[in-house]
Symmetry: C2
Subunit: 139 residues, 2 copies
DNA sequence: CTTGACCCTGGAGTTAGCTCCAAGGTTTAT
DNA sequence: ATAAACCTTGGAGCTAACTCCAGGGTCAAG
């Protein structure tokens, strides 16, 4: 059995974060000592890893909780899990596209500025940001 | 002169947001009426557009305030502005890469699951998330 | 037996960019 | 004249995933 500090060390995470996971219903101690210390089994180590890897895939804690609940639910099947993954991938793709759009807009500004030797008063970047639309004229 | 409501309409933004920009030092009314109503000039319309376009490029309000300050500063030159844009583009690129990494991790999970006909107990996705490293064996 | 390391609970604070509200004063239209 | 629409300030609340703290109890080593 591990105390919270040992589990924290094993997972390279803070004890505060572990207690936070508990409040969020993601990680329950196996038991408590008479004096109220949390005790965790080896499954807690795996659980922490699960949470961390799912976070690294972009899942929020609320979504991770759902994934964990799916495992409990015997009517659920692997396909349900797979759907969550696919859905999350779509969300990521949308965010990536949004950021690529931003990046492209920046690119146009950077190119407009060319060498940047002008004074700020005539900076094409600042000027472009005030323009009604970033786009081109109708052809 | 525009009241805050008119400016809000012109910029498709809420009056609350405009007042928030004021608190953040991004947008000051040109004057106030005797009864305390804010009054804005046409430059405010351009200013709001500036803020919105800069946001669409990924700049935070704090960064936008800096851009605006650069314009005031006569020692600053266009190159300073350009540098901010380049810097922001790098930040975006880093975020995009992070999300692509997430997406790739999800892809491996989705592929591992293949058709998803298994029960949750033997779901390869859930299993993989508990694994020590998502990576492959040494060859 | 004391020192230091550990643990507990409960609650506040962080970041960003707002939104929403109350309680009241002002303007405009009818 | 009065109702509707507008404006003011100040402050609270929202999201996410924590962190940090106070004030106190517990445990292990020397």
């Amino acid at each position: 059995m591990l105390t919270i500090g040992k589990l924290a060390q094993a997972g390279s995470i803070s004890t505060d974060a572990l207690r936070y996971y508990e409040r969020e219903g993601l990680l329950l101690p196996a038991s408590k000592t008479d004096s109220g210390y949390r005790l965790y089994g080896q499954d807690a180590v795996r659980r922490v890893r699960f949470i961390q890897h799912a976070q690294a895939c972009g899942f929020t804690l609320a979504e991770i909780r759902e994934l964990l609940h799916l495992r409990q639910n015997d009517r659920a099947c692997c396909n349900d899990v797979r759907q969550r993954a696919i859905e999350k991938k779509l969300q990521l793709a949308a965010k990536i596209r949004a950021m690529q759009t931003m990046s492209a807009a920046l690119d146009r500004l950077i190119v407009a500025c060319a060498d940047g030797t002008q004074s700020v008063d005539e900076c094409p970047i600042l000027a472009a940001l005030e323009q009604v639309e970033g786009g081109e004229e109708a052809p």
